[in-house]
């Protein structure tokens, strides 16, 4: 999270840390992302977090044995105190496109149910008509994560530091939703083959400074429903441009969850 603040424990009780250790690669590949708790057994995240990192175009999930989900986690140094769960099943969206990140959404079923409490609670899915249309431009949402908080650091530095350059304490930032056309134009005017589809929305500031970044993927972009005062997951951290996170005129791109409510219900077998 760029330009964010330290969260307090219990601010984001749905926030999950998803740690992946891909044993199929030598040396072992390790990375992480975020997810959002939907129920006692299901966590929503981005498909690219759980996609096997082979350098080809196949979209297959990592082996479920290599995934650990942490809940009620505030400081990543205290993982032992968190609620951890192994995984029973991983479902990547069938149409997830590795080229343009269209349909970047996935589900993780926990092997053992979690018990709800002060630090573990699910986030809501869009259910009302106005929520199912997707977030309106300029609406403010919150997004949290343990990803990069210093935009100047490079990926090589992160890896060489043993990921110590990442945030230990969960960070959060408040971002406005950007007019879809503006974001689309912004990306399509650049060199490179960017595609902002109808399954995505953008959030961020024209002037930069606040943004999500590497390691925040899969975390929920939540907006509070003005009627029920409940927090609803409207987006999932998906991707951004090649520039530094939080750069001017660079918006973060989020999976538009409202387009996938039926898909989630079908896959989880519940409403």
């Amino acid at each position: 999270i760029i330009g964010g603040r330290n969260a307090e424990p219990g601010f984001f009780p749905w926030q999950a840390l998803i740690v992946v250790e891909d044993m199929s690669r030598v040396p072992n590949d390790k990375w992480f992302g975020s997810g959002a708790l939907l129920s006692e057994s299901w966590v929503l995240t981005a498909a690219h977090v759980l996609r096997s990192q082979r350098r080809d175009k196949t979209v297959i999930p990592v082996s479920k044995e290599h995934v650990t989900v942490y809940l009620a986690l505030h400081d990543v140094r205290n993982k032992m105190e968190a609620v951890n769960r192994t995984v029973e099943r991983i479902i990547l969206h069938e149409e997830f496109d590795i080229q343009n990140y269209n349909h970047d959404i996935a589900l993780v079923k926990l092997k053992e149910k979690v018990t709800m409490g002060k630090y573990v609670m699910p986030v809501c899915l869009p259910q009302f008509e106005h929520e199912l249309e997707g977030p309106h431009p300029n609406t403010l949402g919150l997004v949290a994560g343990w990803g990069i908080s210093n935009p100047n650091i490079t990926m090589d530095e992160i890896i060489s530091s043993g990921m110590r350059t990442l945030s230990d304490i969960l960070q959060y930032v408040k971002l406005p939703v950007v007019l879809h056309a503006e974001c689309k134009t912004s990306y399509e005017s650049r060199s490179g083959n960017y595609s902002v589809t109808e399954n995505m929305f953008c959030a961020g500031y024209y002037e930069g400074g606040k943004d999500t970044c590497l390691g925040d993927s899969g975390g929920a972009f939540v907006i509070q429903d003005p009627g029920t005062r409940r927090w609803v997951a409207q987006g999932l951290v998906s991707w951004g441009g090649p520039e530094e996170c939080g750069s001017k005129q660079v918006y973060g791109v989020y999976t538009k969850v409202s387009n996938y409510v039926d898909w989630v219900e079908q896959k989880t077998g519940s409403s």
């Binding site: 002060k118 609670m121 899915l125 939540v222 927090w231």
Partner: protein
């Protein structure tokens, strides 16, 4: 010197015919035809000396025991008969014809020329005697006849009367009606009927003959023709016949044999009886507290059954097993098969646990019996109840916790979404 004639037809002529017959002559012809035929005789020519009462010459026609006619002369006068055109018919298959002439003849007389033929007897028309006639149907044929019976009857070995097969009638119900065959029409002849009533040991059979009773009898001899005899264990009743009903007979046994015999004559309407059986009485039973017994009777006897059931909210408890009802039966020795069970109030027992929820009892002393109420709650604020926010269950009559909305299903406690226990910081305007 008799001439034996056995052909089915033939001719008989006086001696020397057509010349005059000799004086002082006597000849006999015996005509025999098979049974079932008669003999018809007629004269084509007749010319005998006439005398008072045919004292001199005559032709006499007779059967074995009866004279049919005596003819003489040429024509019939006041005292003598000549056959003329008249044919003589024998009653049976035999006819004898005797010709006699005395020692002198006043004139020349040419004698007679007679012919005979066998004629079939229609026994169906002629046998009016009840002892000989067919009981149901009669069929004539040339030389004889035979009898047949209506459907359901069998021709008796006398080839005349029609009997019925009625030797294997078994009654096993506790009550019933028995009648002679065809009642109230006359019962079949030549029949021996057996009616058995066989009930379980412990029953006592009572027979009750209806007043309408008609069995052939004799004014002086006891039931020589038709009769009913009843055997009940070691006892025997009857024979019964006549028009006076035997009325009510208490046999004091569970096995009765009724034999009915009819001979080959008579037209009597028969009999009808109803029978009932009762067993040893059992003591009266009282319904349990909060229960009832059905059917409720003033008296219970062998085989009677009562069903014990309990009022709504109570269960029958017998030998530590609960059930909706319990049945007992009156035994042949006059005791009940079981004691009356007690009625125990239905108990839903401890309500099932609700995941992420808990139960509160709405009734004092945490009662779990019939009509007690409980309420399920979810662990607030992290779980909420679905489908409703409250779930009240009442212990029903079947001993199950039941809610109006969900029946016996439990509600579920679902996680509350989107509500952090710790409120997020307010929005800071830029």
């Amino acid at each position: 010197d008799a001439v034996e004639l056995t052909d089915m037809f033939g001719e008989i002529q006086s001696p020397n015919f057509p010349d005059s017959y000799p004086s002082d002559s006597e000849m006999t012809w015996n005509i025999s035809v098979p049974d079932g035929f008669k003999i018809k005789l007629y004269f084509m020519h007749f010319d005998l000396e006439s005398s008072y009462l045919c004292e001199y010459d005559y032709v006499k026609i007779e059967t074995e025991d009866q004279e049919l006619a005596t003819f003489c002369g040429r024509e019939t006068t006041d005292t003598e008969q000549a056959p003329g055109q008249q044919a003589i018919l024998s009653p049976g298959p035999y006819m004898g014809l005797t010709f006699r002439s005395d020692f002198s003849n006043e004139e020349r007389f040419t004698g007679f020329d007679a012919h005979y033929t066998a004629v079939d007897v229609d026994e169906c028309l002629e046998k009016s005697d009840e002892e000989l006639a067919c009981d149901h149907y009669c069929h004539n044929y040339i030389g004889g006849y035979y009898c047949s019976c209506r459907f359901g009857y069998i021709l008796h070995s006398d080839n005349r009367t029609c009997k019925v097969e009625c030797s294997d009638n078994l009654y096993t119900q506790r009550s019933g009606v028995i009648t002679s065959a065809d009642f109230p029409s006359p019962y079949p002849k030549s029949s021996d009927c057996l009616y058995r009533i066989e009930l379980e040991e412990g029953f006592f059979i009572t027979l009750n003959f209806e007043d309408s009773f008609d069995v052939e009898d004799h004014p002086k001899v006891t039931c020589p023709y038709d009769h009913i005899k009843i055997k009940a264990g070691q006892k025997e009743f009857g024979p019964f016949c006549g028009e006076k009903s035997p009325g009510r007979i208490e046999t004091q046994t569970n096995s009765v044999q009724i034999r009915f015999h009819s001979d080959n004559s008579g037209e009597n309407r028969g009999w009808k009886l109803s029978y009932t059986a009762i067993g040893n009485p059992c003591p009266l039973v009282q319904p349990p507290i909060n229960g009832k017994i059905e059917p409720s009777q003033a008296k219970y006897t062998f085989k009677d059954q009562v069903v014990v059931s309990c009022n709504t909210g109570y269960k029958v408890l017998k030998d530590n097993a609960e059930s909706d009802s319990f049945q007992i039966e009156c035994l042949k020795d006059g005791t009940w098969s079981n004691k009356i069970p007690v009625c125990k109030i239905a108990d839903c027992k401890a309500p099932p646990e609700l995941e992420h929820g808990f139960v509160t009892f709405s009734t004092r002393n945490n009662l779990t019996t019939y009509q007690a109420a409980i309420q399920y709650h979810c662990q607030h604020p992290y779980y909420h109840m679905a489908p409703n926010s409250t779930a009240t269950y009442t212990c029903d009559a079947l001993g199950q916790w039941r809610s109006e909305e969900l029946g016996t299903k439990l509600p579920s406690c679902r996680p509350v979404c989107g509500r952090p226990a710790r409120p997020l910081p307010g929005i800071i305007k830029r």
